[in-house]
């Protein structure tokens, strides 16, 4: 038992110090009927055996890096610099708790303060919190916050918001006095959420770039929200786009939530990742999640503490702004290190590389008979329409070891309009050769 330092001799000595003869006496409060059940599970195993078992499972998965890969739809595969993973595995980061004792947690606190500032700059808003679970739950928290800020109950959700985000929002407020007006799925990009805004509206939720990869200037919508006294909440599933595009903040968003998995974090089958949350200064008291702030210590030295904690569950209990406690500290650190390594110049170049490869992919796929690219504009992901149901084609490509995208019907089952559509993404990890292979295989599959 390699993880247990106590020896049998230690245990005997400790029992005698406690004054009981048998360890069972310490479990005397457990009802007899529930004591010591037979549990049908294997006995302990060495590193070799555990590694063998789990490596066998891992080998049954098709790793993204081993094939031409174009899957996105809310999670994007980016290259993570080697130093990021080395740094987050430092035991002082990996094995510490939420920084409740600031004097001996300055590493976590300072890095989260840096993270908050980076997220604020990236999204174009005043302040950001120290992370949420993921993009979908951050979006839900944004909706809840907007109802608190405005004192209103109606929320308009764009039909071009990621379907899983929409369901997480609807589910999360189902038992609260919040009314969701989810607009019809916006297949053709004609939606104008401003038309749905009225004087009872707390906020409008839109995605940027949207679920289908389209780009929309949010300025007009922001103005319409402002006129009606509503907030504009923008969800971003691909933060790398913000290296090249105007930020939601400068277009007038009041709350920006995001999926931060694109930076620093492996795909890891979708979790864990990091949720981003930023807003305007004046709404800070209604913000969910942990916040790190600057402080002075008894010697007048600059440092950082968790602050404005009275919003949180451990103080406000049932009146807290959120029930969140553990969030995504280490994933936020990975995000922050990756973004520090990139810097402004690196992020912009990364974004241009993504866009360039995606444009190249779009041109190649559009030339395949029976395939048409639906987007006029996009960042690194776009929608293609096939002349037949898309899911069997994507499955057939997977058989040939090409991961060609996400059939929209997987996320919107039962919608006829979704059947022929595929979301296709290209990041810096794509190659021209891989794009060529994909286009050729797609042409063959469509024959």
């Amino acid at each position: 038992m390699r993880y247990l330092p106590l020896t049998d001799a230690d245990r005997r000595l400790m029992l005698s110090e406690i004054g009981v003869s048998d360890v069972e006496a310490l479990f005397g409060d457990v009802p007899e009927s529930a004591r010591a059940p037979e549990i049908d599970l294997p006995a302990h195993a060495g590193e070799i055996e555990v590694e063998r078992s789990l490596a066998a499972l891992a080998s049954r998965n098709m790793a993204a890096g081993s094939v031409p890969f174009f899957v996105g739809a809310g999670r994007y595969r980016h290259h993570v610099p080697a130093s990021v993973d080395a740094l987050i595995q430092r035991g002082e980061f990996l094995t510490s708790y939420t920084p409740y004792q600031p004097e001996i947690s300055q590493g976590t606190l300072q890095s989260l303060f840096e993270f908050q500032t980076q997220v604020a700059l990236l999204t174009g808003l005043d302040i950001a919190n120290a992370s949420m679970y993921d993009g979908a739950t951050a979006c839900l928290e944004g909706v809840r916050m907007a109802t608190r800020v405005t004192g209103r109950r109606r929320v308009v959700v764009s039909g071009a918001l990621h379907p899983q985000y929409r369901r997480v929002v609807e589910t999360g407020v189902a038992f609260q006095p919040i009314e969701i007006d989810a607009l019809a799925v916006d297949y053709d990009g004609g939606e104008d959420p401003a038309e749905a805004v009225d004087d009872r509206t707390a906020c409008v939720v839109v995605q940027y770039p949207d679920f289908f990869g389209r780009l929309r200037d949010l300025g007009g919508l922001a103005a319409a929200c402002r006129r009606a006294g509503a907030l504009l909440a923008v969800a971003v599933t691909e933060v790398v786009a913000l290296g090249l595009l105007r930020t939601p903040g400068e277009m007038g968003a009041d709350i920006v939530t995001g999926e931060g998995g694109s930076l620093g974090n492996p795909l890891s089958f979708g979790g864990p990742s990091v949720g981003l949350f930023s807003c305007r200064d004046r709404h800070v008291r209604q913000m969910p999640g942990r916040l790190v702030g600057e402080a002075r210590d008894a010697d007048g030295q600059r440092g950082w503490v968790l602050t404005l904690v009275a919003r949180e569950q451990h103080i406000r209990r049932e009146k807290a702004t959120s029930n969140i406690c553990t969030s995504a500290g280490l994933c936020a650190l990975a995000f922050s290190i990756h973004l520090s390594l990139l810097g402004a110049v690196g992020l912009r170049r990364l974004a241009r590389l993504n866009h360039g490869l995606a444009v190249s992919l779009a041109e190649r796929l559009d030339a395949v008979p029976g395939v048409s690219v639906r987007n006029t504009d996009f960042f690194n992901e776009f929608t293609v329409a096939l002349d037949r149901p898309a899911a069997p084609v994507i499955d057939a490509l997977a058989q040939r070891r090409i991961l060609g995208g996400v059939p929209v019907s997987r996320l919107l089952p039962g919608e006829a309009a979704a059947e022929p559509l595929v979301l296709v993404a290209a990041t810096e990890t794509a190659t021209e050769a891989g794009i060529e292979t994909y286009a050729a295989a797609l042409a063959e599959a469509m024959r």
């Binding site: 310490l26 009927s33 002082e92 997480v168 500290g329 170049r349």
Partner: protein, 503 residues
């Protein structure tokens, strides 16, 4: 002087905004291909104002920051209710296998059968350890699991005729319990503890009626005690048709020895980052799967796994679920849950096995009782033992010394330790909650006990001002948290050229 006598490292480290430069980068990327931009006129004119670091600068910056942090790897971390046990590195290695770390949640399911099988195996371990038949894997952390469990309960009650209005929560509960219940639209009613540090059964019975949806209990409870009347509690809860929810934050005390399902529990979240040692990471990521009774299982949110003819199938949408006869209440997270944490937790469980998990909980309980016994004459526990995995003290031993619980905790920093949880639970005055975990050997426990005895003695000798000034050897002294909250500075901003004074 006892303790670890480790001098604190005192680097000063600027912020990345003070170190970095807008035109510096630690990443070399290929030249973007020439193309006609298709950004719909939304391209920004200038780069964002983000600092960049070269790789050596970044590695040094974050290494130096890490050295201002105390982790389990640094020393003993007896943070009650948080379960700071050793984080095995095998688990980190396995989570990074490309077949786990480099797979996308929306790849065709045929290409991720190994991942789905792992989730199924993890679920099997969790059902056998909890004695409950079904597992919902997707919640991202404990509080998320609480809300998910309560929503499942609410959905099941609604399907049976009515959601009911109230949830009962002991006053010793984690703050997340009432916060989660409120999010599910329930009125929270507090149930007092009795004299023995356990829920007052008579008060519970009085509070229960047919408008109560659930009773949320932490067991072992936050006073570190096993709720020995739990069978009677379960009976009373079930008699009014309510569900018995268990906050599994303290499952690490009994895992492998007691199955909550055998105690009458209907629903329980598990903190994989506590009991099964996925790293806390300075505040996450966590993972909070929920174990469910057969009656609740059909109402659990998507996604879930079902055994199919060609392997494990993933039910991702409510449309598919309904076709299979389930009635999920919705979706609570993007994709499929904290898969990377599933890998780590399963590696932890397989390494321990049924026998090792049982030994781990036994050692955790043994350690806490040992600490309690060795301290009892100087620091009497708030309640009589036997204790479970943690032991709760109040501040009676500091009475008249002028030393507060906070001062005492800060003095432990100077002795080389991470302080225990303080001022929680709220049911005793000046609480100090010590959780040694199974990871601490006897020499470590002995040294810790000696330090605490020494500090308790010094507190009684009129050394209040020494305690008030602690810590002195940490990277920082105590902070002015009032000032920080009155004028919050939540992001870095360049100092104005003329140097406005902030104080």
């Amino acid at each position: 002087m006892t303790g670890t006598d480790r001098p604190a490292l005192r680097f000063e480290e600027p912020l990345i905004f003070e170190l970095g430069a807008a035109d510096r980068s630690g990443v070399d990327l290929a030249e973007p291909p020439a193309c006609e931009e298709r950004l719909g006129g939304l391209a920004r004119a200038a780069p964002l104002d983000l600092p960049g670091l070269s790789e050596p600068e970044a590695v040094r910056h974050y290494t130096r920051l890490s050295q201002k942090n105390y982790g389990i790897d640094s020393g003993f971390y007896p943070l009650g209710s948080c379960t700071m046990k050793h984080n095995p590195r095998l688990n980190e290695k396995l989570a990074r296998l490309s077949g786990f770390a480099d797979i996308h949640p929306l790849q065709p399911v045929d290409t991720v059968q190994g991942a789905l099988a792992l989730m199924a195996i993890l679920s099997r371990w969790l059902t056998r350890l909890t004695g409950l038949p079904a597992i919902c894997l997707s919640p991202a952390a404990g509080a998320h699991g609480e809300a998910t469990g309560l929503m499942t309960i609410r959905a099941a009650l609604e399907a049976a005729g009515g959601a009911r209005r109230r949830v009962l929560v002991p006053d010793s509960a984690h703050g997340t319990n009432p916060a989660s219940a409120a999010m599910c639209g329930y009125e929270v009613v507090s149930v007092p503890l009795g004299r023995r540090g356990r829920v007052d059964l008579a008060a519970l019975r009085r509070a229960l009626d047919e408008d109560v949806a659930a009773f949320m209990l932490t067991n072992p409870n936050t006073c570190g005690l096993f709720e020995d009347e739990i069978l009677a509690q379960a009976e009373a809860v079930h008699d009014v048709g309510a569900h018995f929810y268990c906050d599994g934050a303290n499952f690490n005390a009994i895992v492998g020895r007691v199955r909550p399902g055998d105690l009458g529990i209907d629903c329980m979240h598990l903190n994989l980052h506590k009991t099964f040692s996925t790293p806390h990471g300075g505040g996450g990521p966590g993972s909070g799967p929920v174990a469910l009774s057969a009656a609740l299982a059909p109402h659990a949110p998507v996604p879930f796994l079902v055994d199919g003819p060609d392997g494990v199938a993933l039910v991702e949408t409510e449309e598919e679920a309904a076709a299979g006869g389930a009635a999920p209440f919705g979706r609570i997270k993007g994709f499929h849950g904290q898969f990377g944490m599933f890998v780590r937790a399963l590696a932890f469980m397989m390494s321990h096995g049924a026998d090792g998990l049982r030994q781990a909980s036994t050692d955790a309980v043994l350690g806490a009782n040992y600490v309690a016994a060795r301290l009892a004459d100087r620091m009497p526990p708030a309640y009589d033992g036997p204790h479970m995995h943690e032991v709760l003290f109040d501040d009676r031993f500091l009475e008249g010394s002028g030393v507060s619980t906070l001062d005492f905790a800060k003095a432990m920093i100077d002795a080389g330790y991470h302080p225990p949880t303080i001022y929680f639970p709220l049911v005793v005055h000046g609480a100090i909650l010590i959780e040694p975990t199974e990871s601490e050997g006897k020499p470590g426990l002995d040294a810790f006990v000696a330090t605490l005895r020494d500090l308790a003695q010094r507190a009684g000798q009129g050394k209040a001002e020494d305690f008030a000034a602690a810590p002195r050897t940490a990277p920082r002294r105590r902070f002015d948290e009032t000032g920080a909250a009155r004028r919050p500075r939540l992001r870095w901003q360049a100092e104005p050229a003329t140097g406005r004074a902030d104080e």
